[in-house]
C-alpha cells in the first residue's frame, strides 16, 4: 500500500480533493474512543485485584468497576450525535455486514455491558442485601430488583458468587481488550488513510486506554477522598501509579515506534505522515502530545515511582500526572482521529478543521458528553456505596 502514496506530496500545491474539504469524523468520534478507553482501563484496574490478586488495589476494586460502568452508559452517546441518521442505529445489529469492522460494535458493546453489570451485581450482592434490609420505599424496591429478590447469603451461595465473579472478571479482561483494541482496528483497517493504516493502531489504542483508565481512577479517587475529607489509601495510590507508569511507558514506546519506524523506512507513506506531523499537527503532536504531555509526565512518574516521596507530595504528584496523562490521551485521540483526516487522499494537501461551539457535534456537546459519565457516576454512588470502609462504619 505504500506505493499507493507514491509521488505523495512531491510538490505541495495544497490540492485537496473537493470532497475531502469537510472533516467527516468530528470531535464526537475522537470522544468515543476516549470514553471506551476509560471503560476498558478502569475495568483492568478492578481485574488486577479480582483476577490477579493485587491486594493493595482492594480499596478501589469496586469503585473502578462502577467508574467503568458509568462511562460505559455514555459510550454510545457521541456515536448517536455523530450518525447522520441516528434513528437507524439499530440497523447495525439487525443487518450487520460481516466484513465491516464497525458492524461488531453493537454486539461487543452489549456483551461487555452485560458482563460488567453482572459483575457489579454479584460483587455487590451481600452489600445490596444488607442495604435492602436497611432501606424503605423506592430504595428498597431498587435494591430488591438489583438482588433479584434474593436474600440468600449462606456460605454456599457466597462461594458460588465468588466463582461467578472470578469467571466474569476473567472473561471481562479479554472483552475489555476486544472492546478497545477493536476501536483501534476501526481506524487501523482503513488502508486509504496513511496515518491510520498500521497494525500497531489497536495496540496503541489499547495501551492508551489503560493509561486513561488508570489515570482517571487515580485522579477521581484522590479528588473524591479530598472533598469528602477522608484519607486516600496511600498504598493503593502508589500501586496504581506504578501500573500507570508501566502502561504509559509501553503506550509511549509504541506511539513513538510508529513514527520512528516510518521515518526510518522513508516510504512514500512516511512522506505523507511527515508532512502532517511537521505541518498542521506540529503543535498538537510534537509540542502537546509528545513534549508537554508525555515527556514531563514520564519524568514525574520516574520521580514518584523511583524515589522516596512523602505521602502528601505523592498524592499531589500522582493527581498532577494523572491529569496530564488524561489530557495526553485526549491529544492522542485528537491527533489520530481529526489529524488523520486532514490529509487529503489527493496526497497533495491538507484540509483544515474548524470546531464549532454550538454545532450538533460541537465543543459544547463534547463538554456535556464528558460531564455526563460523572453525573451518572454520582447517581450510581447513591445506590452502590463506593468504599468498603463506609460499609464497615454502617
Amino acid at each position: 500500500m505504500n506505493a499507493a502514496h507514491e509521488n505523495a506530496i512531491t510538490i505541495l500545491t495544497n490540492y485537496v480533493f473537493p470532497n475531502d474539504l469537510h472533516v467527516h469524523w468530528s470531535m464526537m468520534i475522537a470522544l468515543y474512543p476516549y470514553i471506551t478507553g476509560i471503560v476498558a482501563g478502569a475495568f483492568i484496574v478492578s481485574s488486577l485485584y479480582h483476577v490477579f490478586g493485587v491486594k493493595s488495589l482492594k480499596p478501589i476494586s469496586r469503585f473502578s468497576l462502577l467508574f467503568a460502568l458509568a462511562f460505559l452508559t455514555c459510550a454510545t452517546l457521541p456515536l448517536l450525535f455523530h450518525l447522520g441518521r441516528p434513528e437507524r442505529n439499530f440497523n447495525i445489529m439487525l443487518t450487520p455486514n460481516p466484513s465491516s469492522a464497525m458492524a461488531g460494535f453493537g454486539y461487543i458493546y452489549m456483551l461487555y455491558g452485560v458482563v460488567l453489570l453482572l459483575e457489579v451485581l454479584f460483587i455487590y450482592r451481600p452489600t445490596l442485601v444488607y442495604l435492602r434490609k436497611k432501606s424503605q420505599g423506592l430504595m428498597e424496591m431498587i435494591y430488591r430488583a438489583l438482588t433479584f429478590d434474593s436474600t440468600n447469603l449462606s456460605p454456599e451461595s457466597l462461594e458460588l458468587d465468588r466463582k461467578i465473579i472470578s469467571f466474569l472478571a476473567a472473561i471481562g479482561i479479554p472483552m475489555a481488550c476486544v472492546l478497545h483494541g477493536y476501536v483501534g482496528f476501526i481506524f487501523g483497517g482503513i488502508k486509504a488513510n496513511p496515518t491510520w493504516a498500521t497494525p500497531l493502531m489497536p495496540v496503541i489504542f489499547l495501551l492508551s486506554a489503560c493509561v486513561s483508565g488508570v489515570a482517571g481512577i487515580i485522579l477521581v479517587y484522590i479528588l473524591i477522598k479530598t472533598f469528602t475529607n477522608k484519607p486516600a489509601d496511600t498504598d493503593c495510590v502508589r500501586t496504581c501509579t506504578n501500573y500507570l507508569a508501566g502502561f504509559f511507558i509501553l503506550d509511549f514506546v509504541f506511539e513513538m515506534l510508529e513514527v520512528l519506524s516510518h521515518s526510518y523506512l522513508r516510504t512514500a507513506h512516511y512522506h505523507a505522515v511527515d508532512e502532517l506531523l511537521n505541518g498542521p499537527l506540529y503543535n498538537s503532536f510534537w509540542i502537546g502530545q509528545v513534549g508537554i504531555l508525555s515527556v514531563i509526565p514520564l519524568i514525574l512518574l520516574g520521580w514518584l515511582c523511583l524515589t522516596r516521596v512523602n505521602d502528601t507530595l505523592f498524592k499531589i504528584g500522582a493527581s498532577l500526572v494523572s491529569f496530564m496523562l488524561l489530557l495526553q490521551v485526549v491529544f492522542m485521540r485528537w491527533n489520530v482521529v481529526i489529524g488523520g483526516q486532514l490529509i487529503s487522499k489527493s496526497a497533495r494537501g491538507f484540509t483544515v478543521f474548524h470546531p464549532e461551539w454550538f454545532d450538533k457535534e460541537g465543543i459544547l456537546t463534547a463538554i456535556v458528553l464528558m460531564c455526563a459519565p460523572l453525573v451518572v457516576l454520582f447517581v450510581i454512588s447513591r445506590i452502590f456505596p463506593f468504599w468498603m470502609e463506609e460499609m464497615d462504619e454502617g
Binding site: 490540492y15 440497523n91 443487518t95
Partner: protein, 274 residues
C-alpha cells in the same frame, strides 16, 4: 405434585414455542422490507429516446451477463465542465459536494505539478492559472468519478450493508438503509463519496444506473462534447470500450496499489495523476 409436572412442562413448551414464533415473525418483518424491488417495468423505458447502449432493451435484463466499464480519455478532455453541470442537474447535488469533478493539472518546466479544481470544475476552465510564474510545459484535465471497484473498500466497511456491488459491476448505495456513519467516506481511496447534507446519508456517483438499465448512457458520457468519457459493456465485443481495452493503447487505473481493482480506466494518464 409429580402429576402436575408434565402439565407444567407442557405449558413451558408452549410458552417457549410462542416466544420462538414471535421472534421469528418479528425478525422476518424486519428483513422483508429489504427485498429488492423490481427495478422497472417496460413502460418506464422512454421509447422515444433512441437506445444508447445496445442489448439492454427488448429483453429481460440479466445482471450476470453484463460487465460495465468506464473509460476516461485524458488526451481528449477539454475541461469545459459540461459533465459536472449535467451531473449536478441529474442528481440535484448539493453545493460543495461532488459526484464527479474535473481537475486541472499543470506541469512547469522543472516538472513541478500544480493541481486545482475550483468549484469541482463546474464553471469550466475558462481562464489560465495566474499564480504560476514558471514557464508551463504541459497542462491537462482529469475527470474523476466513482471507480466502481471490483473489490470496493466502501462495501467492505459499511456496517449495515447499505452499500453493495451488483453483478453487472455497479457499486450502489441504498439510502433507505444508510445510517450516515461516514465509514465508507473514510475508506474510499478516491474520495468520491460525501454525506448528503439534506438526506444525511452517503452519496456518490452511480454511473447513472437508472439510465443504464433503460439503455441510456450515463449523463456525463452523453453530454461530453469531446468524447473524453466512454462507457459500455465489456461483454459486448462490438462496444467501443471493449475495443479500447483490448487494443494496444496504454491504459491505467488510479491508485492501483490500493488493490481495489477499479472498473474506471484512464487512457493517457500521466504518472502524476493520483
Amino acid at each position: 405434585m409429580d402429576r402436575e409436572k408434565p402439565e407444567l412442562n407442557e405449558e413451558r413448551r408452549t410458552f417457549i414455542k410462542k416466544v420462538l414464533k414471535g421472534t421469528i415473525a418479528g425478525s422476518l418483518l424486519l428483513v422483508i422490507p429489504l427485498r429488492a424491488d423490481d427495478l422497472e417495468t417496460s413502460e418506464q423505458i422512454p421509447e422515444h429516446i433512441p437506445e444508447q447502449i445496445p442489448g439492454i432493451r427488448g429483453s429481460e435484463y440479466d445482471m450476470s451477463r453484463h460487465r460495465f466499464v468506464f473509460i476516461v480519455d485524458i488526451t481528449r478532455c477539454i475541461g469545459c465542465g459540461s459533465c459536472c453541470v449535467a451531473d449536478k442537474r441529474e442528481y440535484n447535488v448539493p453545493d460543495g459536494n461532488y459526484r464527479t469533478w474535473v481537475e486541472r493539472y499543470i506541469k512547469d518546466i522543472d516538472e513541478n505539478i500544480y493541481v486545482d479544481c475550483p468549484n469541482g470544475g463546474l464553471d469550466g476552465y475558462q481562464k489560465p492559472r495566474e499564480d504560476i510564474d514558471r514557464p508551463v510545459r504541459d497542462t491537462f484535465f482529469v475527470p474523476k468519478l466513482c471507480n466502481m471497484c471490483e473489490d470496493p473498500s466502501c462495501v467492505q466497511v459499511c456496517p449495515v450493508g447499505a452499500t453493495f456491488r451488483s453483478p453487472d459491476g455497479f457499486v450502489l448505495i441504498d439510502s433507505e438503509r444508510c445510517i450516515g456513519c461516514a465509514y465508507c467516506i473514510q475508506a474510499c481511496p478516491y474520495s468520491v463519496r460525501f454525506l448528503n447534507p439534506v438526506t444525511h446519508t452517503a452519496e456518490k456517483c452511480s454511473w447513472c444506473y437508472h439510465r443504464v438499465r433503460r439503455g441510456l448512457l450515463p449523463v456525463c458520457v452523453h453530454v461530453c462534447p469531446a468524447k473524453a468519457r466512454k462507457f459500455g459493456d465489456l461483454n459486448d465485443k462490438e462496444s467501443e470500450v471493449y475495443k479500447i481495452l483490448s487494443g494496444p493503447g496504454v491504459i491505467t487505473v488510479l491508485k492501483r496499489d490500493m488493490g481495489n481493482s477499479p472498473s474506471l480506466y484512464y487512457k493517457g494518464a500521466r504518472r502524476e495523476v493520483i
